[in-house]
């Protein structure tokens, strides 16, 4: 392999590694927002994100929860402790979610 090809290959490998690492990270603005489900609450209860942004809900309670959009747009299954659910918001608007198992738990996501 020539010197220039080796350095090009090296650059491609580095770029690939960087992409893999970025994809694997659970949090950070590049990957979307995280909502914790804890003590029978969504935390934060209000969140603003951009069109195309992903929101990931992570259940940290001992009790399972679900994440359900009140328009029926999306519906996670039962999330046990440690399980998560991600939804990508393609359209702007205000979205209300609740837990179908404990419907007193509510939250709002504003997509701009």
């Amino acid at each position: 392999m020539t010197k220039s090809r080796r350095s090009l290959l090296g650059a491609v490998v580095m770029a690939a590694l960087w992409l893999v690492c970025a994809g694997a990270s659970a949090a950070g603005p590049a990957q979307g927002d995280r909502v914790l489900i804890k003590d029978f609450m969504f935390s934060p209860m209000a969140l603003t994100t951009k069109v195309g942004g992903e929101v990931t809900w992570v259940n940290q309670d001992d009790e399972p929860h679900t994440v359900v959009s009140d328009t029926g747009l999306f519906r996670s299954g039962a999330l046990d402790t440690g399980n998560s659910y991600t939804f990508k918001f393609d359209k702007p608007g205000t979205y209300h979610v609740f837990c179908s198992m404990h419907p007193q738990m509510t939250a709002t996501i504003v997509v701009e």
């Binding site: 009790e63 009140d70 039962a78 179908s100 198992m101 404990h102 419907p103």
Partner: protein, 315 residues
């Protein structure tokens, strides 16, 4: 039940709440309520024989799939509950499960639960789902197995031994809110269903979430239940059986007795004593006395029903 206890029951209608614990008697609109603690097997046999011929047994909140600290072996405690029922000298005519059969609405959890229920000597099983049973995205796992009796609507009624049983569903939440929901369609159906019944017919209503408000901040209640209760008030004997809260809470109002059952899986905190109604870990030696089933017998056929709570004890 001795004659003396039955007479006391007829004379006094006390409004009491009963939690676990041993042998306290409460009167119940002409019947009898006895929480039975099975701490010692020998005593247990005597207590069970006092129950008389059970009309049905209520099992609730089996949560197959749960495997955390509060009870790492819910299959084992359900087996003990089933053994307890199977060990009754006279078998109940039917078994009613008031919901949260599974913990996460998973297919394998439902399959295992059905396998375990098939060990009951009593073959007639009626169920209503809990919110843990209707959490799968398409809400089909429960109905594909247990939906036939209600044509997948979740509500239906049937008669047995002169008693009219009404099965209701109050866990299908289509919007945010605090409490369980019956919905206009189901309420209209109940109205029509009850209209034909004479007021002297004993009525048993069962649903997962409490049909009266026990503790609103934790969602322990049903928002539109008042319309249901209005329909029930004219009857001479109404027994409302619920689950969901994993502890016994009871209310007597005129001829209506409201009763929530223990779980066979794990206890929950008393209202307001924790951040939320999650699983409550208790010392291992106390667990069995916090879990149990309820047995309902006809005391003065066909007029009234007697309800007995039985714990798994510490055997």
């Amino acid at each position: 039940m001795t004659d003396d206890q039955t007479l006391r029951g007829r004379r006094n209608a006390l409004k009491c709440m009963a939690y676990g614990g041993a042998g306290t008697l409460f009167a119940l609109s002409g019947g009898l309520l006895t929480p039975v603690d099975l701490a010692v097997a020998a005593d247990a046999k005597a207590d069970i024989s006092r129950l008389g011929k059970p009309l049905f047994v209520q099992i609730s909140d089996t949560h197959i799939g749960f495997a955390k600290d509060a009870n790492p072996d819910v299959n084992g405690t359900l087996t003990r509950a089933i053994d307890l029922v199977n060990g009754m000298e006279e078998q109940p005519a039917l078994v009613i499960h008031t919901g949260d059969i599974t913990h996460l609405s998973k297919a394998e959890e439902f399959d295992l639960a059905q396998q375990m229920f098939s060990k009951l000597r009593t073959t007639e099983l009626h169920t209503t789902p809990g919110e843990h049973d209707t959490a799968d995205p398409t809400v089909t796992e429960y109905f594909s197995r247990f939906g036939k009796a209600s044509q997948n609507r979740g509500y239906y009624s049937f008669d047995h031994a002169g008693v009219h049983f009404v099965c209701l569903i109050n866990v299908l939440q289509f919007k945010a809110g605090g409490l369980g929901t019956l919905g206009a369609e189901q309420l209209a159906w109940v109205m029509a269903d009850l209209q034909a019944r004479s007021s002297s017919t004993p009525i048993v209503v069962f649903a997962h979430m409490p049909l009266w408000t026990i503790y609103e901040p934790w969602g322990w209640g049903t928002g539109d239940a008042s319309q249901l209760l209005d329909q029930l008030r004219r009857f001479g004997s109404v027994t409302v059986l619920n689950g969901h809260i994993h502890q016994i809470v009871q209310k007597v109002e005129g001829n209506m007795t409201f009763h929530t059952a223990r779980s066979t899986a794990y206890p929950q905190p008393v209202a307001g004593t924790a951040a939320g109604p999650g699983p409550l870990k208790v010392p291992a030696e106390q667990l069995a006395s916090r879990l149990g089933i309820s047995s309902v017998s006809v005391v003065r056929h066909p007029r009234s029903l007697a309800l007995n709570d039985v714990t798994l004890g510490s055997v």
